[in-house]
């Protein structure tokens, strides 16, 4: 197994700042916008962006929720291993809000498809956008594309993109892992 660095700590930091600025361009004061981190791995990115928007760019009260998509997945009973559920924590109404889905890696698009179904349980959003740190090109199974992306990556089937966060893995970095 070998791994290659796709983004180091500084590059992750730069990407985060750029993504935050792009969000501000489209959402201004975030008055009618809510961020939704997709469980489990999108939550770290979502929390980072919220902190960045509030601390660095002085935007007040950015709403952030966590959405678990386990019960909405289309590979229930098809995947080899059992699906593990996580907590959903959305304490606001998404009705007529602009929702930004946040996930670390966009690969087949199936998680996002599930998230699109799952979010309907919380109301009818005005619009939904997708932000992802890593966009794996040419690997989509569904017509889903990100509105904001940190880095586009070409990775072939056997390769895996691993996103590490300081609060979880001890460092900020993105690796391409080959088996």
């Amino acid at each position: 197994m070998s791994q290659k660095v796709l983004l180091n700590a500084t590059e992750v930091q730069i990407a985060l700042h750029r993504l935050a600025c792009q969000l501000i361009e489209n959402h201004d004061t975030f008055k009618n916008t809510v961020l939704v981190g997709i469980q489990p791995r999108g939550v770290f990115l979502a929390e980072r962006l919220k902190t960045l928007l509030e601390k660095e760019y002085k935007i007040k009260n950015v709403s952030l929720g966590y959405l678990d998509i386990t019960f909405y997945r289309d590979d229930f009973r098809r995947s080899g291993k059992p699906l593990e559920a996580n907590t959903t924590n959305i304490d606001f109404i998404v009705e007529d809000k602009k929702v930004v889905f946040i996930d670390d890696v966009l690969y087949t698009g199936r998680s996002i498809r599930s998230a699109l179904t799952a979010i309907q349980s919380f109301g009818r959003p005005l619009e939904i956008e997708l932000l992802t740190l890593i966009d794996r090109r040419f690997s989509r199974h569904l017509p889903i594309q990100p509105d904001y992306r940190g880095r586009q990556v070409d990775a072939i089937g056997g390769e895996k993109v691993k996103v590490c966060w300081k609060e979880n893995e001890g460092e900020d970095a993105v690796y391409l892992v080959k088996n």
């Binding site: 019960f71 009973r77 098809r78 593990e84 559920a85 179904t117 349980s121 919380f122």
Partner: protein, 312 residues
């Protein structure tokens, strides 16, 4: 999260503590789901479940049906009263006929103990026991323990007394197994005639005095007097039963501590429990009912995940 060690839920006796904890953790997520504005998830949309009730039930049947619908499963209902069982069809024939209509899971209540175990050996579907005679009622025990866990934080180390008709009660047996697997201490209390002779072989002690039992416990689970299962008189009169084994406000006020009062329903108000206790804050009877849906969703979800997807 791992998966259940069994393919059927036939009784608490056949599952492990890890299975119970997994069901509880999954139920936590479903409890959040059923409190959303839209209370439905699509997980079981390709699963068909038959509810076979060979014996009357309101709560359990509604609870299962709701759990199945919240998981988007297709549901068919069957009750023995209006079926060919009356014409003499055997259990296996009845179930195989239903299964040939492409049913994946069977939820069954049956008056004969062991009906679920028997069926699981002969038919090719996942079986959930919704009560088999005086044997087991596993989902009731799971939701009772889940409610204790929710109210008191944990089941381990708690003292639970089960009061009433232990002899005819599947709820009592399943509760004893579940509570012991989760590390609680269990006593039973009731008229001697309604206590099974060998109860102590289960590691459960018998306390004939209700007041002493209540003083000892953290949780009192009051069972219903099952008149329909009593072929002979087990106690002189309902009035005498109430005087000795009915819980009332005065009795609880006398304890110097607040215990949790549970009841699996349906309540005989004024017999095993008075109205003021049943409607008090100490009683978590309606929480039990709400948790029942979440726990049953968890059981169905976890069992369904073990049915392998058929590619053709």
């Amino acid at each position: 999260m791992s998966e259940l060690s069994v393919n059927h839920l036939l009784g608490i006796k056949y599952i492990t503590e890890d299975d119970i904890q997994l069901i509880f953790e999954t139920a936590d997520h479903f409890k959040e789901v059923i409190n959303r504005p839209i209370k439905k998830v699509p997980s079981l949309r390709d699963i068909t479940i038959a509810n076979l009730f060979f014996e009357n039930s309101t709560r359990t049947r509604l609870s299962f049906e709701l759990a199945e619908k919240r998981l988007s499963a297709d549901v068919i209902n069957f009750s023995a009263a209006s079926s060919s069982v009356k014409k003499g069809e055997t259990l296996i024939d009845t179930v195989n006929n239903i299964l040939s209509m492409k049913v994946d899971m069977v939820v069954m209540r049956h008056p004969n103990p062991g009906a679920g175990v028997f069926l699981s050996k002969h038919v090719n579907a996942s079986i959930v026991n919704a009560g088999d005679g005086a044997h087991e009622h596993p989902t009731q025990a799971l939701l009772d323990c889940y409610s204790i866990r929710e109210k008191l934080g944990d089941v381990a180390g708690k003292k639970v007394v089960i009061v009433g008709d232990i002899l005819h009660s599947r709820v009592a047996l399943s509760n004893i197994f579940a509570l012991q697997k989760l590390g609680a201490e269990v006593k039973v209390c009731g008229p001697k005639t309604l206590i099974p002779k060998y109860i102590e072989s289960l590691g459960v002690s018998f306390e004939p005095n209700l007041k002493k039992a209540l003083k000892w416990c953290d949780v009192a689970n009051m069972l219903r007097v099952q008149n329909e299962r009593m072929d002979i008189s087990y106690f002189p009169s309902t009035r005498e039963y109430t005087q000795q084994f009915g819980v009332n406000k005065a009795l609880l006020d006398d304890l110097n501590k607040e215990i949790v009062v549970m009841h699996p329903g349906p309540i005989n108000r004024g017999v095993e429990i008075t109205s003021d206790v049943a409607d008090s804050k100490q009683a978590i009877i309606l929480d039990q009912v709400q948790n029942g849906v979440a726990v049953r969703m968890a059981v169905l979800y976890l069992l369904a995940s073990k049915i392998k997807h058929n590619e053709d």
